[in-house]
Structures are given as structure tokens and as C-alpha cells.
Symmetry: C2
Subunit: 475 residues, 2 copies
């Protein structure tokens, strides 16, 4: 009969295989430019290479790692490639990966303070640091009425904000009685799709989300917002939530926070600010103008897992009134009761999020901030913006192309003047070539290319080659 340690990887085996995996990642990073950025796998190709049935007996680690190279890598779209300019970045870095590895090794649950005090306190601490680093309003500090928490994504953060808004607007009665079809939420027609999903999940209904018109720069029009709120109130509805965006996904538009915030105050609406990618820009004083008006927000969210060298998942979510959030999301069954919770002296972060369980995600963020220092983070954010602005300049100087939206930071929206079909074909050819990966959006109902600079290892030569490939394929 097998003994009790049978089948487990011993610490010495872990050491050996762990070194091999670390080396594999170092090698992967070093040779990443040799792969086509967008995977060429056909639907079903990866599955067809895998055995139909799971193994009855264990296999060697070398065999498993060998299959990663052979079977998995061909099905990978290389988000960490310096030639990745699609969507938004999801940039990782050495210190983040190693911080996350430690989190896996410690394997703690941070649902309650008591289930690992360091998991909660490091998170609170690092999120307080970031308030200062981004010059966010002091009300988001844990020492004030607010505080920060790590969520998986901005979608979840926005959902939590919407729920707190829903409850505050109904005196916390919706949690008990359910929604009644009267609550109304507002965002711009350019906001992230997760807001639409959130209002559906939260029981408000998509019909009760107002997608406010935007101006010529794709930013929300406060006058339209104000009129819509008034009209909804007059119709007997209950406006509760406005989401403004700093850097929309589509075109990096920046909504006018001061005006929107004023309207929210006047109407007692919860004002949420989604700065998923562009929040990171506030690390640099010269880009903080994008955050003008954030002091009016009830909640704010940005993703270090997009543009701050921290591997997914790591979203930072701040609220000005943590009591409203906690009252909205708190559940205390007997089996989670403990003295620390009852003392009121600690944060139990399971009351700040949708799920109960939570990973020690603050470690990787702490590692990133300490490894780079403020100086290092600022350097790379500046560099990405500088490269994007260079790219925008090249586009402007080529008469075949035009800039399609303001490019305040690291995203450039542009198009070939030849129309939708030419742009679609241009994008497809470029992506099929494997040399780079970029994606599209529609602006003013025209097919528009998006070029986003933000990967950890993207340097000037990558942006130069991308532009040169775009010019070639546009012939």
C-alpha cells in the first residue's frame, strides 16, 4: 500500500521542477518575439492534441512541462509580447510574477482579517500608498471614512459600486425587498460594456441604464446627463448611480468629472469613476489633469493588472464611505464569527467584494512598487505615452491616414481614409502576419484601428516596426 506522502511532490522535487519552470518563463520572455503575436490555432486544434481521457496514473513533471511547449504555446496569443498593441495591455513583470508565486506558496485565504492578518493589512497598506502615489482624494484612505480593496476586475468593482449605490438610494431596502424597476443608472454611450452587464446582474435592468450622449471627443455630455436625470425624476423613477470614465476602452476618452460630480452631488447620486487602464497615468504629475474632479467621486477603480506591471488579477477599488459598501455586502454566518471581527478593529475584506474567498494579491503589488519605486513606474508610464504620441505623429504625417479621436495618453485611434473595408482588411493582414496585434472599435460608426502602447517590454523599435508594417500593408 502507498504511504501517506505518496503521490505528493516532495520539497526537493518542488525545488527542481520549480527552477525548471522559472527557467522556462525566463526563456519564454527572451524568445517571445519569435512567435506570431496572435495565435494561429484553428478552433478545436488545441483540444484535438489532448488525450480524450485523464490519466489513470500520474505522469512525470518533465512530460507535463514538455507538453506546455508542444501543445499549449501554439494556442497562445502572446499578451506579453512587445508587439502586442491590442485591446488594453495586461502587462506583467518579474517582481509581480514572483510575488504571485509566493502567494500561491503561502496559500492563505484572506476572507477575514483573522484568516491571515498580513493578507488584509498589507492590502490596506499598499492601497493607502497608492492613494498618495496617484494623488487621489484623502477620503479614500483607510484612516478616513473610506478605504481600498483589491478586486479581480474593474467589472466586479463597478458592480460593487452599483450595489452600494442601489442600497444607499433605497435606504438599504433593495437588499431586503429586491429591486422594483425604478432605480436608474447612468453612464456614457462610450463606457465599458461591464456597466451594462452590471445593471443586469444587479436587477436594475438594461432599460434603466441611460447611455448618455458624448461630445465630439467621445466624452460624456454633462448637460445631457442633467436633463436625463431631471426627466427620470419627473417620471417617478429613482436615479442612483453615475459611472464616468477616465480613458474609455474604445478611444481613451476622458469624461468631464468636475461637471458630472457636481450634478451627482446636487442629485445625491453615487458617483463612480472607472479609470481601468488610465488610472496608472496619475502616477505622473503631468498626467494628473486626466483625474481632475476625482475628489467628487464616491468610488474609483483602476487596474494595476493593465498598465502597472502587475499580472492579472489585480484591480484596486476605492470608496469614500466604506460603511455603505460593507452594509451592502456583509453577511455573517456563525461559522465565520470570530473575536477580531466582533471587536470592530479590523477590516474583513469578504464584506467588500462579491465572493467570499480571496487570494493574497497584495503581495505582488507590494513587490512591484518596491522593485520599481515610484521613479521606475513613472519612467515606464512616461515612456509608453511618449511612444504612443510619436506613433500619433507618424499617422498625422501620412496623408493616407487620419487620427480618429484625441489621444491623451497611450492609446491612438486612427484609420485609413479609404473606408471600413480597407481598414478591416488592413487589420486582418497585419494580425495574420504575426508581426503585431492590434484591434478595432467603431467611432462615429466608422471602423477604427486602435493602437495601445503599454506592454512591459515594448520599446521604440517595436513601435517603429509596427508603423512600418502598417504603412507596408496599406499600400
Amino acid at each position: 500500500m502507498a504511504d501517506e506522502k505518496a503521490f505528493h511532490m516532495t520539497p526537493d522535487e518542488f525545488r527542481k521542477h520549480g527552477h525548471a519552470v522559472v527557467d522556462w518563463i525566463a526563456d519564454y520572455t527572451a524568445r517571445i518575439e519569435s512567435y506570431p503575436v496572435l495565435s494561429r490555432a484553428e478552433p478545436g486544434q488545441v483540444r484535438a492534441s489532448l488525450p480524450a481521457n485523464p490519466p489513470a496514473r500520474g505522469e512525470s513533471f518533465d512530460a507535463i512541462l514538455g507538453d506546455v511547449e508542444k501543445l499549449i504555446v501554439p494556442g497562445i496569443t502572446h499578451w506579453q509580447s512587445p508587439n502586442f498593441f491590442a485591446f488594453f495591455p495586461a502587462n506583467a513583470s518579474g517582481p509581480a510574477i514572483l510575488g504571485d508565486l509566493l502567494s500561491s506558496g503561502l496559500g492563505v485565504q484572506g476572507m477575514l482579517w483573522a484568516t491571515s492578518p498580513a493578507c488584509t493589512e498589507l492590502e490596506t497598506h499598499v492601497l493607502d500608498w497608492l492613494v498618495g502615489m496617484l494623488e487621489l482624494p484623502p477620503k479614500f484612505l483607510s484612516g478616513s471614512s473610506g478605504g481600498g480593496v483589491i478586486q479581480d476586475t474593474a467589472s466586479s468593482a463597478s458592480l460593487c459600486a452599483l450595489l452600494a449605490a442601489r442600497e444607499r438610494a433605497t435606504n438599504f431596502a433593495s437588499n431586503k425587498r429586491g429591486c422594483d424597476g425604478k432605480l436608474v443608472a447612468y453612464t456614457s454611450s462610450q463606457a465599458h460594456s461591464s456597466i451594462e452587464k452590471d445593471v443586469q446582474i444587479a436587477g436594475l435592468g438594461l432599460n434603466n441604464l441611460r447611455l448618455i450622449d458624448v461630445d465630439e471627443n467621445f466624452a460624456m455630455r454633462p448637460d445631457v446627463l442633467a436633463r436625463q436625470i431631471k426627466s427620470d425624476r419627473d417620471a417617478g423613477l429613482l436615479p442612483c448611480f453615475v459611472c464616468a470614465t477616465i480613458g474609455t476602452t474604445s478611444s481613451n476618452a476622458i469624461d468631464p468629472l468636475p461637471e458630472i460630480g457636481r450634478i451627482c452631488r446636487e442629485n445625491n447620486l453615487w458617483f463612480h469613476v472607472d479609470a481601468a487602464m488610465s488610472g496608472t497615468a496619475a502616477l505622473c504629475p503631468e498626467f494628473r489633469h486626466t483625474h481632475r474632479g476625482v475628489e467628487l467621486a464616491d468610488s474609483y477603480t483602476f487596474n494595476p493588472h493593465k498598465w502597472m506591471f502587475t499580472n492579472f488579477d489585480c484591480n484596486c477599488f476605492y470608496v469614500a464611505d466604506r460603511k455603505a459598501l460593507i452594509k451592502t455586502l456583509s453577511i455573517l454566518p456563525e461559522y465565520l464569527r470570530n473575536k477580531a471581527t466582533e471587536s470592530g478593529a479590523v477590516f474583513d475584506y469578504r464584506d467588500w467584494q462579491i465572493p467570499l474567498g480571496r487570494r493574497f494579491r497584495a503581495l505582488k503589488l507590494w513587490f512591484v512598487i518596491r522593485h520599481y519605486g515610484i521613479e521606475g513606474l513613472q519612467y515606464h508610464v512616461r515612456r509608453h505615452v511618449e511612444l504612443a504620441q510619436k506613433f500619433a505623429g507618424w499617422v498625422r504625417n501620412d496623408s493616407r491616414f487620419e487620427i480618429a479621436a484625441p489621444a491623451p495618453l497611450n492609446l491612438v485611434c486612427f484609420r485609413h481614409k479609404g473606408g471600413d473595408e480597407i481598414n478591416q482588411k488592413l487589420m486582418d493582414r497585419l494580425n495574420r502576419s504575426g508581426d503585431l496585434y492590434l484591434t478595432h472599435t467603431r467611432l462615429n460608426d466608422r471602423f477604427t484601428l486602435r493602437f495601445c502602447v503599454g506592454q512591459t517590454n515594448t520599446m521604440e523599435r517595436h513601435v517603429e516596426r509596427a508603423w512600418s508594417r502598417i504603412q507596408q500593408e496599406a499600400m
Copy 2:
């Protein structure tokens, strides 16, 4: 001026520091029994040890890793300790940690098939494997009408199930019009607290969740369920969702799935089964009786991150009718459109979950199944159950103690016969000693100790010593 690679960790530095972190984890695992299981940190202690401000300049990796040992470890409650018997396990293993490390290194987003085909296809494949491994109904296979997906937690899986139930019951009108206070959900009074949270989030309202009475074994009473559904229908309400549990958090009670499933069919209700920890038991044919009736379920969820040696987060969620789930959660903005999605030949998992972004979590699950093989996983699950049953036998043979609930698998609920205060003090003394960590619940309104065997390295000697310490402290 700094050059473009400035501040980043080079591949060679990553290799060096990565080996150091792997070694740290191996050493941590080897010496884990030397720590008190429950952290002795006082509220605020960890934060007080951290500098008030973030570093302006980057620090050395050695300094950062040194601080993990010095500042973080004292604030850790050691979930990976073999002397951890609290809550439910969150057992990790070498292959899981290394699979997750690879996921961090690849750093891909799996929101769409196209954004990394391997991320989606390996997930579908491994979740199909698990249908066979647990002998779940074939309708959960991706080749049928259903399919499986990895979620962060069972809380989120149950929320997705509830939302799909809500939409199916209203012909997908709630997503548009919002909730109207008429939808009703059902679970037992012993179900996980996340169900209460889910009905609040989804806009049904806590008043519309019926906590059905349980029998003397803490299992849901189907007769009470049937009567309550009828009474709600008669009152003009709209019953939509029942959640049954295989292995409640409080006492590991197993609801009678066949009877509950029949009632759900008769009333056209979505039948969700939460087997968060105990699902893993179905790996062993002799424990599959716990899953009798699961073929009637519309959805099913279990957590490899609890009892299947896979580090958090890794919840497996299955539905019989994936179209209902996708129709509930799908949003398609222009910037996510792509040919593969439009072909209909692929799964885009962002339509199966709350958030948009998603990590490559299937890697660690694939690593675990291949490393252990079915044989290895079965061996350890059997061993944990055997050890829990031995423990239950010792409790039964000590006249000072009594068993408080049936112990069908790896959780034993018991108490000292001396009353609540004695049990509370006994638990506090044991936990303060650092020798083991166990938690409590209330059953029939009596303070009850829970002893859950499921950590990766828990062996007979740990369970023996735990019992011996309990006996000592009970003197």
C-alpha cells in the same frame, strides 16, 4: 537618462530571484509545522511594521524577500499547515503552484477564445475530464447542450446559476426590465451564506429567499420545500431557483437531491447543486452515493481549490443548458468583436461569468490531474476520509464528548458535553496554543466544534496529536 530596459527585472535576474522564491517556498513547506497555525498578530501589528510611504526608488529583491520572512510570515495563518483543521481546507500542491506560476508567466487573458485559444480549450477539455472523473451527468459535457467553466469561487458560480434561473423564469425579461420583487429562491437553512448574498446582489431581495427547514441530519426537508413553493405560487409569486448542498459548510449535511430534483422538475425551477468541498469526494466510487440525484441538476459546482490540491482560485461550474447561461451574461461591444466569435464555433468564456477578464486557471488543474493521476487523487481523498472517521471514533469513545452531526466524509462536528462556554474556551485555548486550528458552528443552537481533514500534508500523526491536544485541554 535611463534606457528603455531600465528598472525592469532582466530574464537572468528573474532566473536568479525566481530560484530563490521557489527555494523559499520549499523551505517554508518543510518547516511549516514550526509556526503557530493561527497567526498571533494583533490588529494593526503588520501595518505598524511597514513604512508609511512607498519607496521613491526601487529596492533590491533580496530586501523584499527578506521582509516577507520578517514582516509578513508573523501575520500569516498557515492554511497549508498539516495542523489546519478549520473551516474547509484550501489545499495546494507542487504541481498546482507551478501550473499557476506558468499562467503568471504567460500572462494571457482568456476573455475570448481568440485572445488565447489554448486558455479556453484546455479549460473546456479539463472540465470535460472532470465530468468523467466525478461521474457527473453527460449533459454537463461541452459536447452536449451544457459545459463547464472555471470561476473564482462557489459564491460566484451560484450567482451565475441564480442569474440564469432568474432570466429563464422571466423569459429573459429581468435583464431588460429589472426585477419586480416577485421572484423567489429556495435553499436550506444550512446552506452557505453566499446564497443569501447572491439573492441580494441579483435584485431578488433577501425577503424572497426561503430558508427551508432541515431534518435531524441538517438536510433540507423536501416536503417543506414543496409546500413552500406551492404557497408562494398561490400568493402570486414566481419561484425560480433551488440550491441544494452536498456537504454544507456548517456540518457537511447532504440534501436529498433526488426528491428536491423531482420537485424542481415538476415546478420548472432551476436546480443548482453546491458541492463546494465535497464534490471532490465523487472522485472515489465508494463516495459517489453523496451525489445521488445530481443527474437532475441544471447546474453544479465544486472547488478543486478546497480539497483537490489546486491552489485558489479554481472553482468548477457546470450547466446543462449553456445557452441559458450565455444569454444571461453575454454582452458584445464592438471592441470585442472578432471572426471566431461570429463563427459560433468557439466558447467565449467571458459570457459564462461576471467579470470580463480571466486568467489561465486551467493550467494548474491540468498539472494537478496529470501529476497525481486519478489514482493519486483518489488515494488522498480516501485517506482524509479515513482519518476523519478515525477521529470521529475517538470522539465517540470519550464520554466527555459527543458527535453533533453525521460525519459522512472528512468533516467531524463534535462538542464537549459541558455546554457552550466550555466548548468556546476549549477552542480558544487550542487555537491560541498554535498547535492546531479548528473553528466552530452552531447546530441546534449549540456551540459545536468542527474538525475538517483535508490539508495536503495532513497525516495520521497530525490527527492523532490534534485529538490528544483536545483531550488535554478538555481536562
